[in-house]
């Protein structure tokens, strides 16, 4: 089912939890609604479910406005953060409940419950009560219950947040597998950028009730539309440093005097003396010993001291203290400089991110945001 949000706003009293949100989800897509708590992502999900009615704007399912359609007639399935299984019913009865409400005959009910139980791999648990199940099993039951009606849209509210780390990885794959098997349009809410990146076809990232960017995970990571998106995606987070752009020589001038040459062609609105935020991904720079810099000019590197190092497997995370500011960088484990060493940090110029300091918007001309949507175009 194709889902369209068109300038959707939801107010609770004076507060706009969702503010003029527009986006279109294509049929069969797995969409991640990502953002910090209070950004309006759960409210958006509840509006899609029909549990909240938008204050203004339109929600369309396959072109039909559904603002006033109650949840049970929207062909949706929903999984709640705490799973919301009926505690007094067995797993079988839980999954059969939506069918019983639809007055599906008993024989067919039985068959469809079994079919769902097989899909989520809980056939052996049908006689148990929810309290006798592990978190992952409860989650599977909740998914089975949400899918048994054969809905056209599956909504998942923080589906993995109540699981431990190992189970989270497992259920991540399971959700992907089940979604593929059923081919259902799916929207899930999360505050975990890693979860959103790994699971989604496209991510809709929100802050303060507004859309920040809507794009495929890799696109969003490579071309964040704003400082917020750049900082929210990626772990360890991107390094952000303040600087000014100087047209004379096309350099970024940092407060400590460091100058960084930059190719201005891909950027728009990069005026002389414009205050910018420079984003450097931890993996988008090389670290060298100072004696190797003689061959370089002085507009391509930072100089600093290694103040901290932390081994995280294949790479080492180091913190380099600059004259003003710090950089957290990933370096190959066997090339890690010792603590206290003076180092030269050479950022990859093609992977620099520039944001306008004033409002945090990306200056790169090509920052894809899929739904500069329906109405805002023109």
């Amino acid at each position: 089912m194709r889902v369209e949000l068109d300038a959707v706003t939801m107010r609770f009293g004076d507060v706009a939890a969702v503010d003029g949100l527009s986006a279109t989800f294509e049929s069969g897509e797995l969409i991640g609604l990502l953002g910090p708590s209070g950004c309006g992502k759960s409210t958006t999900l509840f509006m899609l479910a029909g549990l909240y009615r938008p204050t203004s704007g339109e929600i369309r399912f396959d072109g039909t406005v559904v603002n006033d359609v109650p949840p049970e007639r929207r062909s949706i399935g929903m999984v709640f953060q705490n799973y919301a299984l009926y505690p007094h019913m067995t797993v079988f009865d839980n999954i059969a409940f939506p069918l019983r409400m639809q007055k599906v005959p008993k024989a067919e009910r039985q068959e469809r419950v079994l079919e769902m139980a097989r899909l989520v791999r809980i056939e052996h648990l049908l006689g148990r009560k929810p309290a006798q199940l592990s978190g992952g099993q409860q989650q599977r039951v909740a998914i089975a219950r949400s899918l048994v009606k054969r809905p056209k849209l599956l909504l998942l509210d923080e589906p993995l947040s109540n699981l431990d780390a190992r189970l989270r990885l497992e259920m991540r794959e399971e959700i992907r597998r089940i979604q593929r098997a059923v081919g259902i349009t799916t929207v899930f809410v999360t505050h975990d950028q890693e979860e959103a990146m790994s699971l989604s076809d496209r991510i809709l990232i929100m802050e303060g009730g507004r859309r920040q960017q809507f794009a495929a995970p890799q696109v969003m990571y490579d071309r964040p539309a704003s400082r917020f998106v750049a900082f929210f995606l990626g772990n360890p987070p991107i390094n952000l440093l303040s600087a000014r752009y100087r047209q004379d020589g096309s350099v970024l001038v940092f407060p400590d005097g460091t100058r960084l040459a930059v190719d201005p062609t891909p950027y728009a609105g990069l005026d002389d003396e414009l205050p910018v935020t420079v984003g450097i991904r931890p993996e988008a720079a090389t670290v060298q010993a100072p004696d190797e810099i003689r061959s370089l000019d002085d507009t391509g590197h930072f100089i600093g001291t290694v103040a901290y190092r932390e081994t995280i497997g294949r790479d080492t995370l180091i913190r380099v203290d600059l004259a003003e500011g710090v950089l957290r960088l990933l370096v190959p484990a066997h090339e890690t400089p010792p603590l206290g060493a003076r180092v030269v940090v050479i950022p990859d110029r093609t992977r620099l991110h520039l944001f306008r300091e004033s409002d945090g918007r990306a200056l790169h001309k090509d920052t894809p945001d899929d739904a500069q949507a329906t109405r805002r175009v023109g």
Partner: protein, 274 residues
């Protein structure tokens, strides 16, 4: 170990004494019910009758139409309990789950009525019922007791402790309010409901003042009112009164024994889940 045993011994000792004190009136009732009229008045009192007068029970039954009283008591208790259960379920659900204008103000007002002592309501209620022409009829015995603010309050709190997501899930699954109330809320809050039913049943079964006031004819009396038959100008026939009283409390004891497990469950769960 020794301290454990000692404290256990102390606890059981105290419980034994307390339990004994609780049982004493019941024992005295049974003992008196088997005495002769002379023995009842004996000073110092005798703990056990010299000879068990089982005849007392037969005599007690012959003195008043207890069959009729029993039927009345059962009708009144069952119907008022059922009525209270229904109004409580609906009101508690509305006050905990439905959003409507003035809900919280209305609920505060409702709670406010708990401050009014029941005796204050005797006269106005009587006047109302008499204007309706319901005095000396089942309506008067039952209808004023088919709603209880305390029960609504108790159940509402239990309903509030049920996660909101369950009602959302039920709505998405296609269950309306009544369906959700019946199939999810009621089973989940069963211990609280049992407590409410039990308190109501006992209260209704033992009610004395109200049935005495609103009934005139013998045919409409309930068991507790019927017990007054043993008190005449000539005095009270205690041995017969006690025999009848023993009969009156028997159903409540049976009911309690049957539901005991649920009551304990309800109380302990109230402690954990709030």
């Amino acid at each position: 170990m020794i301290r454990d045993a000692l404290s256990k011994g102390t606890i059981y000792g105290l419980l034994f004494v307390g339990g004994g004190l609780m049982l004493l009136p019941f024992f005295w009732m049974l003992s008196t019910s088997l005495k002769t009229p002379n023995e009842v008045m004996l000073m110092p009192p005798r703990w056990f009758p010299a000879h068990a007068e089982w005849q007392n029970y037969v005599k007690a039954f012959q003195m008043a139409p207890f069959g009729r009283y029993l039927v009345n008591s059962v009708i009144v208790t069952v119907l008022s309990t059922l009525g209270e259960l229904i109004t409580t379920l609906l009101a508690a659900y509305a006050f905990s789950r439905l959003a409507f204008w003035g809900r919280d103000v209305l609920f505060s007002l409702l709670l406010g009525t708990m401050m009014v002592p029941g005796e204050v309501l005797l006269v106005p209620n009587y006047v109302t019922l008499s204007k309706l022409g319901w005095i000396d009829r089942y309506e008067a015995l039952i209808l004023p007791w088919t709603a209880s603010v305390f029960a609504i309050f108790l159940l509402r709190q239990h309903f509030l402790s049920v996660p909101k997501e369950l009602s959302y899930a039920a709505r998405v699954d296609g269950a309306g309010d009544f369906r959700f109330l019946r199939e999810v809320m009621v089973p989940i809050t069963r211990p609280a409901l049992v407590t409410i039913v039990l308190l109501k049943t006992i209260g209704s079964w033992n009610a004395f003042l109200w049935p005495l006031i609103v009934t005139n004819s013998r045919e409409m009396r309930t068991l507790p009112v019927g017990l007054t038959a043993f008190t005449t100008e000539a005095g009270t026939a205690y041995e017969l009164l006690m025999a009848a009283a023993a009969f009156v409390i028997l159903p409540m004891i049976i009911l309690f024994l049957m539901l005991q497990r649920h009551i304990v469950e309800g109380l302990s769960r109230a402690g954990i889940k709030g």
